[in-house]
C-alpha cells in the first residue's frame, strides 16, 4: 500500500466509541419488564445481572437447568485475586476447593513445595492463608459460587480455589500472579478467573497463561476499566481464552469498559451485588474520592457488597462457563469458549465487535446449545493491493460454520447504510484466516467511508455478521 496515495484510516475496530450506538440495534433494553426497585433504591432488581444472563430464579429456568444438566459434577474454579473470606456464611466449605492431598499439619503432604496449601495459597505473604483483606476476591467468588438467598452465585457446583495474589489495595506483583496461575494449572483447576490487569504487559503472566491454555484450562479475563482500547495486552490469544467486557442495565457497553479486538464476550458489570469479605470496604480502599465510606455495604450484618467493574463481568462469564463444565465435564476449555460465544446474545454492532465481542453471555442458551454448533464470521483486516496496475480492496478474515451454507461480503456507504453492494461472489467454501473478498476499488468511488459486512450463513437458516468501517481517506 502506498500511503501517500491511499490514505487509510485504521479499521474502525473500536476506534469510534460512538459506533456502537450509531450502528447498534440495541433493542433489548428493559426487556419489557416493569422496573423493580432494588434494596438500595435502584430501579432494577439487586441481582439484575444474573437475570440478564438467563438466571432469573424462576421455576421455568430451574427446569431448564435441571433438564439440560441431569447430573452436574463439581468443577474446580481458580480465583486468582485478593483471596476470599472463607468464613463467609454464604461460602460454605462445600463451595471451596479443598486440596485432597494436603492436611493442616505443617507438612507438605503432597510435595508440591507449598506447606499446608489446603484451600489455595497466599502469594502476597507467601503463606497458606489466602484470606481476603481487600474484598475484591470474595465478590468474584460469590458471583461464581455463593450459597444463600440474598446474593446467590451462578453455579452451586463450582469449587473455589483461593489464590491470593493482590494485596489489600488490590495491587499484586506479576510474579505472584504468574505463580498463582501456575498453582491453579498444577492443581487441576478447569477455569481460572483473572479479574486483574495492568499497564505493563508481563512476560511472566503471559507464560503462565500459555501453560494454562496448553493444559486445557479455560482462562477468563476482564477487559479493563479505563474506558479505552486496551485489552489483554501481551497475553496469548488462545481458543481457551475469554476476554470479557462489561455491560450496564441497558445492555450497552458500560462506560468504563475497555474494548479491543480480543474481547470475546460481554456480561453485566455495573452495580453488581455479591459477598463482602468481613471488615472490607473495597471502594473506600481503592481511593474513589466521591465514595462515602460504607455506602456500598449491603445487608443488616454487612455481609454483602456492590460494585462496578469488568472484574465482575468476567466472574459472571466464569460462573456460566463453570456451569457448562459441571454439566459436561468432558468439554475442553476451547469447546466451552466456543459454546459460550456462539450462544451469546448479540448486542451492539451485529456480529463479533470490539465492544461486546459476540455479545452478552447467556446461561440458558449455552446449556441448551448444540456443543458442536458454530457460525464464525470475522473480518480481521481490509487492505489495498494492486492487481494489474489497478487498486483492489482485499477483505481478510474467517467465515465458517458447523453446517456452512455460504458467506457474503457486502459494502454500503456509511451515510447510506442500507445501500448494500455485494462484493465478489458468495463464498461457497469456508475460509479460515484468509481472503474473503477482493474487488476493484473503483466500485467504491461514491463515498469515503464504507461499512463492510460479512455474513456467514448456516444451512439451518441462521447467520452471523461481522462489520467494520473502512475509511478511504482522500481516495479516488
Amino acid at each position: 500500500v502506498r500511503g501517500e496515495r491511499w490514505h487509510w484510516a485504521a479499521l474502525a475496530l473500536g476506534i469510534f466509541p460512538g459506533l456502537a450506538l450509531a450502528l447498534g440495534d440495541t433493542t433489548l433494553a428493559g426487556a419489557g419488564a416493569a422496573p423493580a426497585a432494588g434494596s438500595w433504591g435502584q430501579p432494577y432488581p439487586d441481582q439484575w445481572g444474573l437475570a440478564r444472563i438467563g438466571l432469573d430464579g424462576t421455576a421455568a429456568t430451574q427446569k431448564v437447568l435441571q433438564d439440560s444438566c441431569p447430573s452436574p459434577q463439581p468443577v474446580v474454579v481458580a480465583v486468582v485475586d485478593s483471596g476470599i473470606d472463607y468464613l463467609h456464611p454464604d461460602l460454605p466449605r462445600e463451595r471451596l476447593w479443598v486440596n485432597p492431598q494436603e492436611q493442616l499439619n505443617g507438612i507438605d503432604d503432597d510435595h508440591d513445595g507449598f506447606v499446608d496449601d489446603v484451600i489455595g495459597w497466599n502469594f502476597v505473604d507467601d503463606d497458606n492463608n489466602p484470606f481476603d483483606d481487600s474484598g475484591h476476591g470474595t465478590m468474584i467468588a460469590g458471583i461464581i459460587a455463593a450459597a444463600g438467598t440474598r446474593a446467590p452465585g451462578i453455579n452451586p457446583h463450582a469449587r473455589i480455589m483461593a489464590l491470593k495474589v493482590l494485596n489489600a489495595l488490590g495491587h499484586g506483583r506479576s510474579s505472584a500472579i504468574a505463580a498463582g496461575v501456575d498453582f491453579a494449572t498444577a492443581h487441576g483447576a478447569r477455569l481460572i478467573n483473572l479479574s486483574l490487569g495492568g499497564s505493563e504487559p508481563s512476560a511472566l503472566i503471559a507464560q503462565a497463561v500459555s501453560r494454562a491454555l496448553a493444559a486445557g484450562v479455560l482462562v477468563v479475563m476482564a477487559s479493563g476499566n479505563e474506558a479505552r482500547e486496551a485489552v489483554a495486552d501481551g497475553l496469548p490469544d488462545g481458543a481457551g481464552m475469554l476476554v470479557v467486557a462489561a455491560t450496564d442495565t441497558q445492555d450497552a457497553r458500560a462506560p468504563f469498559s475497555n474494548w479491543g479486538a480480543a474481547v470475546r464476550l460481554a456480561a453485566p458489570g455495573v452495580d453488581i451485588l455479591s459477598l463482602r469479605a468481613r471488615g472490607s470496604d473495597l471502594i473506600a480502599l481503592s481511593g474513589a474520592s466521591a465514595y462515602r465510606p460504607g455506602a456500598a455495604i449491603v445487608g443488616e450484618d454487612g455481609e454483602y457488597y456492590r460494585a462496578s467493574g469488568t472484574s465482575f463481568a468476567a466472574a459472571i462469564v466464569t460462573g456460566v462457563a463453570s456451569w457448562m463444565l459441571a454439566c459436561h465435564p468432558q468439554l475442553s476449555g476451547p469447546q466451552v469458549a466456543r459454546i459460550l460465544t456462539q450462544s451469546a446474545r448479540d448486542i451492539g454492532p451485529p456480529g463479533l465487535d470490539p465492544q461486546t465481542g459476540y455479545g452478552l453471555v447467556d446461561l440458558r442458551a449455552a446449556l441448551s446449545a448444540d456443543p458442536g454448533f458454530f457460525i464464525e464470521s470475522q473480518i480481521n483486516s481490509a487492505s489495498v493491493v494492486t492487481l494489474n496496475g489497478a487498486p483492489q480492496l482485499r477483505v481478510s478474515g474467517s467465515a465458517d460454520a458447523s453446517r456452512f451454507a455460504k458467506a457474503v461480503v457486502r459494502a454500503a456507504p456509511e451515510s447510506y447504510p442500507n445501500d448494500w453492494i455485494e462484493l465478489g461472489g458468495a463464498l461457497t467454501q469456508p475460509v479460515h484466516e484468509g481472503t474473503l473478498a477482493q474487488f476493484d476499488l473503483r466500485l467504491m468511488r461514491g463515498a469515503r467511508r464504507w461499512l463492510v459486512q460479512l455474513s456467514t450463513q448456516s444451512d439451518t437458516g441462521q447467520s452471523r455478521e461481522a462489520r467494520v468501517l473502512v475509511d478511504l481517506g482522500s481516495a479516488p
Binding site: 503463606d127 495492568g198 476499566n225
Partner: protein, 628 residues
C-alpha cells in the same frame, strides 16, 4: 520429588544493619525482576553465576522455580538481554505491579450512581493533641528516607485457617476466671461498622491513628499495613502498641510476715468490690515470696488506667499493672526444608562425647506431645498454668523436639541433646486447636517461672516474646539470681520490631535466627540485646500425632537450639552455673559477620571455654559452610 533447598528471604545490607526501631514501617523500594527457571536449573547456582546476591525463590509450575530479586532500572536495562537468555531461563521480566479491575469508580465518573456530593467524614483516624494516639508510626524506605503519601491501614487480622476445618466452636472454652480466652480474634467480628481505617503518611512519613476508633484495647485482632503500589508491610498492631486485656489488672502483693489469715488479700478484695472490681484469682509465687492477684474491672465507666491507679496505693500492693499478651515466636515455613541445625550449632560434633543425659530443661511454651516417638520417656513432667489443661500442641512439641528429640530412631534426627529431660510448663494456649500460633499472658508466665524455680532444672527455654512487664521482670530476675539460664527468642518482629521481652531483659540469653547458610533471618527482630544467633529458618521439627516432621521458622527454633546445646554442656559439667553457661555460649560464639551481627552458637568452642572434653569436635570441625 524435587527437594527445594532454598527458602531465602530478600535481605538487603541496609535492613540487616538497621537499628531496631519500634515506631517505623519499612517498605521495600527496590524494583524487582523475576525469572522463571527450568526444573533442571539450580537457582542458587544461577544467582551466583549472575552475581545476584539478594533473591527469593518459590515454586512455580511443574518443578520450575521463580527467582525474584531487586535490580535497579539502569542495571536491568544493561543486563537484561544476557540474563534473560541465560541457561535455564523460561521467562524473564520486570516484576510489574498489576491491579484488580473491581472498582470502576476509580477510573470513571461514578458509574455506581452514587451521589457525588455528600461525602461526610472520611474513615481516616487523625491524631489530636488531647487523645493518646492508638498508633503512631513512621513510614520509611529501605534507605531510611521517609515515605510520604503512603497509605497506612488498620485491618482486622486474618482468621486462623484452621477454623475452616475445626469450626469456631472447637476453640477451648476454658474457665472465664483463668487466662483470657485465646480465640477472641481467630474469628474477628462481622458487621457493617467493622471497616478498615485508612490514613496517609505525611511529608515526614509519620502517620497516626487515634485511640477509641477501631480496635480499642484488643490490638491482637488488628494489623497495621503500609502499602505503596505492590510494596506491602504488614505487622500485627501489637508490635507497635502492646496488646493487653482491657478489663484486667495484675497486682503483686507483698504479704506482711504476720499476715497468716490472708487479711491483706481480703482487704484488697473488699476494696475491689467497693470500686466495682472483683478478684478473679490469687496465686502464691513462693520464688519471690509474693502473691499474684488478677482482678476484673466490672464497671464500664472505669478505665483500665484508672483502675491501676486506684489499686497501686493499696496496702501490700507492690505493683499494679496491665495483663500483657505474649506470643510464641515461630511460624510455619511455607517452603521445603533441610536438616542443618545440629551440624551448624556444633551439637553434632559435641554429641560424640557428651549427651546431656539427665539434664533437665524447662520448656515454658504450649503443651508438648509426650507420647511422640521422638520424645518418648523424655518429658518427665507436664504442668499447666493456663487453666486450659495439658495438651499436645504444635509449638511446644517442636521446641521440645529441637532440644531433646531421640537420635537414631528412624523418625528424624534433630534433638541437640538427645538424652536430656524435658519439663513441660504449659503457659501458652494455641489460638485454636491445632494452631501453631499461641498466646500467653503476663500472669501465666509469672506462674510458669515460679513453678520452674521450684524445680532443680537450670535451663529454662522461653521461645516467646512480648512487651516489657514488671511482674515478668521480677520473676526473670529471681531466676537469674538463683543461677538459672533463661534462653529466650529474640522475636520475629523484623528490622522494625520492638525489643521483645523476656529476651531483652539483662542477663537473659536472647537468641536470633540464622539460616542454613548462616545468614541472618530477615524476619528476626534486631537490636543490641540479642547476644547470639542459632539455626532458625525452615528447620524440621516433630508434629503432634505425626511421624513425619514439619518445618518451622522463627527465633523460637533458634532459642531451642541454644537450650539443647546448653543441656549438652551442662551434661558434661553438671555443676556449671547458669551465668557461666551463658558466658561460655556467648563468648564461644563464632562466625559473626559484620559489626551489627551476633555470633552464632558453637557448641564446640563454648565447651572449650568450660574446659569440657571436645574430642568429638576436633575430629570434625563444626560446619561453617553449606550443609549437604
Amino acid at each position: 520429588l524435587r527437594t527445594l533447598a532454598l527458602a531465602v528471604g530478600i535481605t538487603s545490607g541496609l535492613r540487616l544493619g538497621a537499628v531496631a526501631q519500634a515506631d517505623t514501617l519499612t517498605l521495600d523500594s527496590g524494583e524487582f525482576r523475576a525469572i522463571e527457571l527450568s526444573a533442571q536449573t539450580d537457582p542458587e547456582e544461577f544467582a551466583h553465576r549472575n552475581g545476584i546476591a539478594d533473591y527469593e525463590v518459590r515454586p512455580a509450575s511443574g518443578g520450575t522455580l521463580q527467582l525474584r530479586f531487586p535490580m535497579e532500572e539502569g542495571v536491568w536495562r544493561a543486563r537484561r538481554a544476557a540474563l534473560c537468555t541465560d541457561r535455564g531461563v523460561q521467562s524473564c521480566d520486570t516484576d510489574y505491579c498489576q491491579h484488580d479491575l473491581g472498582d470502576a469508580n476509580a477510573a470513571t465518573t461514578s458509574p455506581l450512581g452514587e451521589p457525588a456530593t455528600a461525602s461526610p467524614a472520611p474513615p481516616v483516624a487523625t491524631s489530636s493533641d488531647r487523645a493518646t494516639p492508638l498508633l503512631s508510626v513512621k513510614v520509611q524506605g529501605e534507605d531510611g528516607q521517609p515515605r510520604a503519601n503512603t497509605r497506612v491501614l488498620l485491618l482486622p487480622h486474618p482468621p486462623d485457617i484452621a477454623m475452616l476445618f475445626a469450626g469456631a466452636a472447637d476453640a477451648p472454652a476454658g474457665n472465664p476466671d483463668t487466662v483470657p480466652g485465646p480465640a477472641s480474634c481467630a474469628n474477628p467480628q462481622r458487621g457493617r461498622s467493622v471497616v478498615p481505617l485508612v490514613n496517609v503518611s505525611r511529608a515526614d512519613g509519620s502517620v497516626s491513628f487515634e485511640e477509641g476508633r477501631g480496635p480499642g484495647g484488643d490490638r491482637s485482632c488488628w494489623d497495621v499495613v503500609a502499602i505503596a503500589g505492590c510494596a506491602v508491610r504488614r505487622e500485627p498492631l501489637s508490635n507497635y502498641s502492646p496488646d493487653f486485656e482491657a478489663r484486667r489488672v495484675l497486682v503483686l502483693l507483698q504479704l506482711p510476715p504476720a499476715d497468716t489469715t490472708g487479711q491483706t488479700l481480703a482487704s484488697l478484695a473488699a476494696f475491689a468490690t467497693a470500686n466495682q472490681m472483683r478478684v478473679l484469682e490469687a496465686t502464691a509465687l513462693p520464688s519471690i515470696a509474693r502473691t499474684l492477684v488478677r482482678l476484673e474491672i466490672l464497671s464500664p465507666q472505669t478505665s483500665l488506667d484508672a483502675a491501676i491507679a486506684l489499686l497501686g496505693p493499696q496496702a501490700g500492693v507492690e505493683l499494679a499493672q496491665r495483663e500483657y499478651r505474649y506470643e510464641v515466636a515461630a511460624h510455619s515455613d511455607p517452603f521445603a526444608w533441610m536438616n542443618y541445625g545440629a551440624k551448624l550449632s556444633g551439637a553434632d560434633a559435641l554429641q560424640r562425647t557428651v549427651s546431656g543425659k539427665g539434664v533437665a530443661v524447662v520448656v515454658i511454651d504450649t503443651g508438648i506431645d509426650a507420647a511422640h516417638p521422638e520424645l518418648t520417656g523424655r518429658v518427665t513432667e507436664r504442668i499447666d498454668v493456663t487453666g486450659y489443661g495439658i495438651s499436645a500442641d504444635r509449638h511446644g512439641t517442636a521446641v521440645a523436639g529441637l532440644i531433646g528429640a531421640a537420635a537414631d530412631n528412624g523418625v528424624g534426627a534433630y534433638g541437640m541433646a538427645p538424652e536430656a529431660q524435658i519439663i513441660s510448663i504449659k503457659a501458652c494456649e494455641p489460638e485454636s486447636r491445632g494452631a501453631l500460633a499461641a498466646r500467653c499472658w503476663s500472669s501465666a508466665l509469672a506462674k510458669a517461672l515460679d513453678a520452674a524455680l521450684a524445680r532443680p532444672a537450670h535451663i529454662i527455654n522461653m521461645s516467646l516474646g512480648g512487651p516489657k512487664d514488671p511482674v515478668l521482670e521480677r520473676l526473670v530476675n529471681a531466676a537469674l539470681s538463683s543461677s538459672r539460664l533463661i534462653v529466650a527468642a529474640a522475636g520475629n518482629g523484623g528490622p522494625d520490631g520492638a525489643p521483645s521481652y523476656p529476651a531483652a531483659y539483662a542477663g537473659v540469653l536472647a537468641v536470633g535466627a540464622i539460616d542454613s547458610r548462616e545468614r541472618p533471618w530477615a524476619q528476626a527482630t534486631r537490636g543490641g540485646f540479642i547476644t547470639l544467633s542459632a539455626p532458625g529458618v525452615a528447620v524440621p521439627v516433630p508434629v503432634p500425632g505425626e511421624s513425619y516432621p514439619a518445618q518451622l521458622s522463627g527465633t523460637s527454633m533458634a532459642a531451642a537450639h541454644v537450650s539443647g546445646v546448653a543441656a549438652l554442656l551442662q551434661g558434661a559439667k553438671p555443676d556449671v552455673t547458669g551465668g557461666a553457661l551463658r558466658d561460655a555460649l556467648v563468648s564461644g560464639g563464632t562466625g559473626a559477620d559484620g559489626a551489627a551481627a551476633q555470633p552464632h552458637v558453637n557448641g564446640c568452642t563454648a565447651a572449650a571455654r568450660l574446659g569440657i572434653d571436645t574430642a568429638g569436635c576436633s575430629s570434625t570441625p563444626p560446619a561453617s559452610g553449606n550443609p549437604p
